[in-house]
C-alpha cells in the first residue's frame, strides 16, 4: 500500500490533502522563487496523529517536511519531491500561562503574537519578535531560532525557551530542558530547521512588560557617523531594546510608504529604543542624545502614538521596497558592528557592479544586515544575477568575521553559502549530528547542510575568520 493510501486509511479524511489543487498552497514558503509540490500534506489536529504520520513515512521511507505557518524566508519548509508535508498550524492550544513562573506552555502551531496576547492580562509578553510575528508559529520560531528587533537586550528564541517536547523519527518522545544535566540538547534542537526531530510542545519564557519605552530617531549625513553612534551607545553601558539603522534609499522608500516623518536627505537613520523603569530610561535617553552629537537631526518620541509611528516606517520597509520594484531579494548576513560602514560601502560598490539597486535595513545592535536587492524576475537572467550578488554580500560578511545567516536560516537558499562559512570537516560534523538523530535521512533531507560534493563542485571556497584559503593566489 502506498504512503498516500496508508495516510488516508489511518487518519481522518479531512486532514490529508492530495492532488495538484490541494497541495499547491504548500508548494513554497516565504521564499517563493523556489517551488515544489509534495506527494501529500497532512494537517494533524493532535499529537497522536503526528506519531501516525511518522510511523507511516518511516515504514515507506517517505521524506517528511515539517511546516509551521510557511513564513520562513530560506525555503526551509519548501516541500521536497515525493515528500509528505507535516503542517502543524492546527496545533494551536495555549496549554497554560504561568505568571508566577513567568512561563507559558503552548503547542507548536500557536502564533508568536498569540502568546503575547494570551499573556497580556498578566502584563507579560513573549520577547522575540520576528517581523512575521502576526503569522509565524512558535514551533517554526524554535526550528529556526528566530530573532527580531529586540534580540540585543532580550535574546533570540534559544534564550527565551525553557523546554521542548519532541518526537524523534522513531516516534519516541523526548523532553529537553534548560536545566538538564549533560549536553546542550535544547540548544542543538533550536535552529535545527526540522532536520533532527518534530517539536510538539514548547514551554516559553515570558517577560514583564517594561514600564516605559522611548524611541530616539537620529538622522546622519554619513553612514560612518551613524555606525560610530551605535558603538558609542554600547560602549557607554547602555543596552537599547532595539537599535535599527536604515540607509538613504530605505529611508526614502519607507517615508513615501508610511509617512512616519523620517528626515529625507539623510544618508543614514538610527532608531534607538530604550525601555525599562522610568528612573532608568529617562537619564539613558539624555545620555544617548548627547552621545549622538554628530546627528544632523534628532527626535525623541513624546507619546506612545509617536513611538509606534516612528517604528511603522522601519517595520514597513520591506513592503515599501516591494512597491518600488517588481521583486526584491532579502539577505540576512551578520557582521561585527565595527565593520558596518566598510561593509555598506562595499555593498554599494557591488550594487553598481551588478547594476541592481539595493536598500539597506539593519538590526544595527547585533550586526544583522538585511540588504534588499531590487530586481525583476520577468527579465531573463536577473534572478541568477541577484543570487550571485547576494552570495558576494555573504562572502563579504564571512570575510569580516560574520555569518551568512543571522535569523532566517539556511534552508535551501544558503546551501552554497554554507560552503564558504564552514570547512569540509565542520560540515561533516553537521552531517553526523543529523545521522545521530535521523539515520535514514527522512526529516527535511537536503536542507540546511550542503553535501561535501556540492561544496567541492563550487571549488571549496571556504572563507574563514577574515582569511581566504591561499591568499597568495589571485582570484577573479
Amino acid at each position: 500500500m502506498s504512503t498516500i493510501s496508508q495516510l488516508k486509511k489511518s487518519l481522518p479524511k479531512n486532514i490529508v490533502l492530495v492532488g495538484e489543487e490541494n497541495t499547491r498552497p504548500f508548494e513554497c514558503d516565504g521564499l517563493s522563487v523556489y517551488k515544489q509540490k509534495p506527494m501529500a500534506v497532512v494537517l494533524p489536529n493532535e499529537v497522536g496523529q503526528v506519531k501516525k504520520v511518522l510511523e507511516i513515512c518511516r515504514k515507506n521511507k517517505t521524506p517528511i517536511v515539517t511546516r509551521g505557518a510557511g513564513t520562513g524566508l530560506s525555503g526551509g519548509a519548501m516541500p521536497i519531491k515525493d515528500s509528505v508535508v507535516l503542517g502543524l498550524s492546527k496545533l494551536t492550544k495555549v496549554i497554560s500561562i504561568n505568571p508566577e513562573e513567568l512561563t507559558a506552555v503552548v503547542e507548536p502551531g500557536v502564533r508568536n503574537l498569540a502568546i503575547s496576547e494570551a499573556a497580556d492580562e498578566y502584563d507579560l509578553y513573549y520577547a522575540p519578535d520576528p517581523s512575521s510575528q502576526i503569522a509565524c508559529t512558535i514551533g517554526g520560531n524554535v526550528a529556526e531560532n528566530a530573532g527580531g528587533v529586540h534580540c540585543l537586550k532580550y535574546g533570540l528564541t534559544v534564550q527565551n525557551i525553557e523546554s521542548i517536547k519532541i518526537l524523534t523519527i522513531e516516534g519516541d518522545e523526548l523532553v529537553f530542558s534548560r536545566d538538564d544535566e549533560g549536553l546542550g540538547l535544547l540548544a542543538l534542537m533550536t535552529g535545527s530547521e526540522g532536520l533532527l526531530g518534530i517539536i510538539t510542545e514548547i514551554t516559553v519564557k515570558l517577560t514583564k512588560k517594561p514600564e516605559v519605552a522611548k524611541l530616539i530617531m537620529a538622522g546622519f549625513d554619513s553612514v560612518r557617523d551613524c555606525a560610530n553612534g551605535v558603538a558609542e551607545i554600547i560602549k557607554n553601558g547602555i543596552i537599547p531594546a532595539g537599535l535599527e539603522m536604515m540607509d538613504e534609499f530605505a529611508i526614502q522608500a519607507s517615508e513615501e510608504f508610511a509617512r512616519p516623518g523620517y528626515p529625507l536627505g539623510s544618508k543614514a537613520l538610527l532608531l534607538c529604543e530604550l525601555d525599562g523603569s522610568e528612573e532608568s530610561v529617562i537619564p539613558d535617553v539624555d545620555t544617548v542624545v548627547s552621545l549622538l552629537s554628530k546627528a544632523s537631526s534628532i527626535r525623541v518620541s513624546e507619546s506612545e502614538e509617536e513611538r509606534l509611528l516612528l517604528w511603522k516606517g522601519r517595520k514597513s520597509a520591506f513592503p515599501a521596497v516591494g512597491r518600488i520594484s517588481p521583486d526584491y531579494y532579502c539577505m540576512d548576513g551578520t557582521i561585527p558592528k565595527r565593520h558596518l560602514a566598510d561593509v555598506l560601502e562595499k555593498i554599494n560598490a557591488l550594487s553598481k557592479r551588478f547594476n541592481l539597486r539595493v536598500a539597506n535595513v539593519f538590526h544595527a545592535g547585533d550586526g544583522n544586515l538585511h540588504p534588499l536587492i531590487l530586481y525583476d524576475a520577468g527579465v531573463p537572467g536577473e534572478l541568477e544575477k541577484t543570487e550571485e550578488f547576494g552570495n558576494e554580500i555573504l562572502k563579504l560578511c564571512i570575510e569580516v568575521g560574520g555569518s551568512i545567516t543571522g535569523e532566517h536560516g539556511v534552508g535551501i537558499e544558503k546551501l552554497d553559502a554554507m560552503c564558504f562559512q564552514y570547512s569540509d570537516a565542520e560540515l561533516d560534523v553537521f552531517h553526523q549530528i543529523k545521522a545521530a538523530f535521523d539515520p535514514q535521512t527522512l526529516l527535511n533531507p537536503g536542507k540546511a547542510v550542503p553535501s561535501l560534493h556540492r561544496c567541492a563542485e563550487l571549488g571549496n571556497m571556504h572563507v574563514h575568520q577574515g582569511n581566504l584559503p591561499h591568499p597568495e593566489l589571485e582570484r577573479f
Partner: protein, 187 residues
C-alpha cells in the same frame, strides 16, 4: 601545551586523554590546558570577548572590569579556568556563548559559531558542548557575549541542574560522543 599544533599532536598520539587543570604535563594521559591561556580579542563596543580556554576566570573578569563589563552568568569559583566552567556549566552560561574553537578526538581543529550575536548557520555546536565535561572534544577557545556590569549581575542565576535519566537521551548523547570522538580518546 602552548600551541594548537602541540595540542593536536598530543591528541593524535594518545590512546586515552583526560583534560586536566593541573600543571602536570608529564603524564601521557593528561592534557593540561592551564597554560593555554589569554585573551585573544576583546571588543567592548561589540560586547564580545574571545579567550583561550585555560584563562583563569578572575583574569578574564579583570579585563572586562576595566571597561565596566562583566560575564553575565553564575560563577562559583573564579580561580578556575573558563574552559572548565564551560565544560560543567548549563544553559545560563550557554546563553552567552557565541562561538567555540575545538579539537575533536581525531585531532582536527574546528570552529563553530563566531563572534556575532546572531548566527543560525549550521547546528548550534558551540552551545551543544556546554556541559560536555571534556568527553567530546578539547575546547581551545570560546567567544562570549558580555554585558555592562550593572546589567550582568541580574543575569547571574545559579540554575540547579536536574538529571534527565531517559535511556534514549543517554543513547543520543553516546551517539553524539561518537561524532566528535570516534576513537574514544577523551575519558
Amino acid at each position: 601545551m602552548k600551541t594548537i599544533g602541540e595540542l593536536q599532536k598530543k591528541i593524535r598520539n594518545a590512546s586515552q586523554l583526560r583534560i586536566s587543570n593541573s600543571l602536570d604535563d608529564s603524564s601521557d594521559e593528561l592534557l593540561n590546558m592551564n597554560s593555554y591561556s589569554g585573551v585573544v580579542e576583546y571588543f567592548p563596543e561589540e560586547l564580545v570577548i574571545t579567550v583561550k580556554a585555560g584563562t583563569l576566570i578572575k583574569d578574564l573578569s579583570q579585563t572586562l572590569r576595566k571597561k565596566n563589563q562583566a560575564l553575565p552568568f553564575f560563577i562559583e569559583d573564579d580561580e578556575k579556568t573558563i574552559g572548565s566552567l564551560y565544560a560543567t556549566a548549563g544553559s545560563d552560561l550557554s546563553d552567552s556563548v557565541l562561538g567555540v574553537q575545538i579539537i575533536n578526538g581525531k585531532g582536527d581543529l574546528l570552529n563553530f559559531g563566531g563572534q556575532v550575536m546572531k548566527n543560525v548557520a549550521g547546528y548550534d555546536v558551540s552551545r551543544l558542548l556546554v556541559g560536555s565535561m571534556g568527553k567530546l572534544a578539547v575546547i581551545t577557545q570560546i567567544s562570549f557575549k558580555v554585558f555592562p556590569e550593572k546589567l550582568a549581575h541580574e543575569r547571574r542565576i545559579n540554575q540547579q541542574k536536574k538529571i534527565n535519566d531517559s535511556p534514549l537521551r543517554e543513547e543520543i548523547e553516546q551517539r553524539l560522543k561518537n561524532v566528535f570522538d570516534p576513537y574514544g580518546v577523551f575519558v
